[in-house]
Amino acid sequence: MMTVLSDRECERYKRQTMLFGEEGQERLKKAHIFVAGAGGLGSPVSIYLAVAGVGTITVVDKDTVDQSNLNRQILHGQADIGKKKVASAEEKLTALNPDIRVTVVDTTIDESNAARLVGGADGIVDAMDNYPTRYLLNDIALEKKIPLFHGAIRGFYGQATTIIPGKTACLRCVFPCAPPKEVFPVIGATPGVIGTIQANEVIRYILGTGDLLANRLLIWDGMCSRTEEIAVARNPRCPACGDEKSKKIPEKKQDNLNERKRR
């Protein structure tokens, strides 16, 4: 792909090339980021990646826009109810920035299609709402040796960390067991905070600048406007990235693995 910036792009990105130059902007343009989910987290993540000029963004989601999504899923509006989330996402992202390529897939991410969907992307953004799919994305990130930008939220609380295969703890090192499934309460500002942090991580990963949330679990407490950190470390016995991969997976966790335990 040509990475020379057009006049319009130079103008569009003027205020950020002040930070990292046209060279940085070209890096963003060359990058391909896979966003898993077009909901609460996927909305701010994909919006900020789009306006920053990340050249190719793939968004995957299986859902249809519902009235009850609109308190937080800012990619979608009243007029989108009943539309596929990815169709709405493609429309909004392209309208925000016609100088990037947006590809969307209306499907459920599962073991049979995950690796193919991610394809040659440079990084995966975890904007999912469940751990089984998160663990699957974690496996794909480890396999392809590309980063996984994790985020999750509930109510006024959120968490984020950046997983660099071979360097940091993986998602299963940090969260060996999934919290229980539920219809979670949420105020839109929470995925706004966490999704924006994820987008910021992606941008700086592509630019190669600053300190990523590597081996650091950021915790957002929106009840008292506080961010805190927990240091995390690789678990040598981790069933996903551990040395022996000897699958020391407790009984209960088999549920989350579905049929994947024979991989």
Partner: protein
């Protein structure tokens, strides 16, 4: 001799945080957390199951170092320790 217990997110809503407790060096980590959590039934139930074991998703840290919940009963709380109890969230 005191230790500090820090709860996060929903645990914090139910139980408060930065709780200073007296320790004698003979109290195990689960016993200490139980002692604090006992003041609020909902808080206790959020952290422990019916058998009094840590729920499997709970993340425990002692002075910034991860403690496996299944191995926590062998860990004693010492003077000056900072114990963090964190519930991961799942939504997106």
């Amino acid at each position: 001799m005191t230790a500090k217990i820090r709860f996060f997110a929903r645990f914090r809503e139910l139980l408060g945080t930065d709780i200073m407790v007296d320790v004698d060096g003979k109290t195990s980590l689960p016993d200490l957390v139980k002692q604090i959590a006992a003041k609020n039934r909902e808080g206790y139930d959020a952290i422990f199951d019916e058998k009094g074991a840590f729920r499997e998703f709970v993340i425990l840290m002692q002075n910034g170092r991860r403690i496996e919940t299944t191995e926590a009963s062998a860990v004693m709380v010492a003077d000056g320790d900072e114990i963090a109890v964190f519930p991961p969230v799942a939504g997106g």
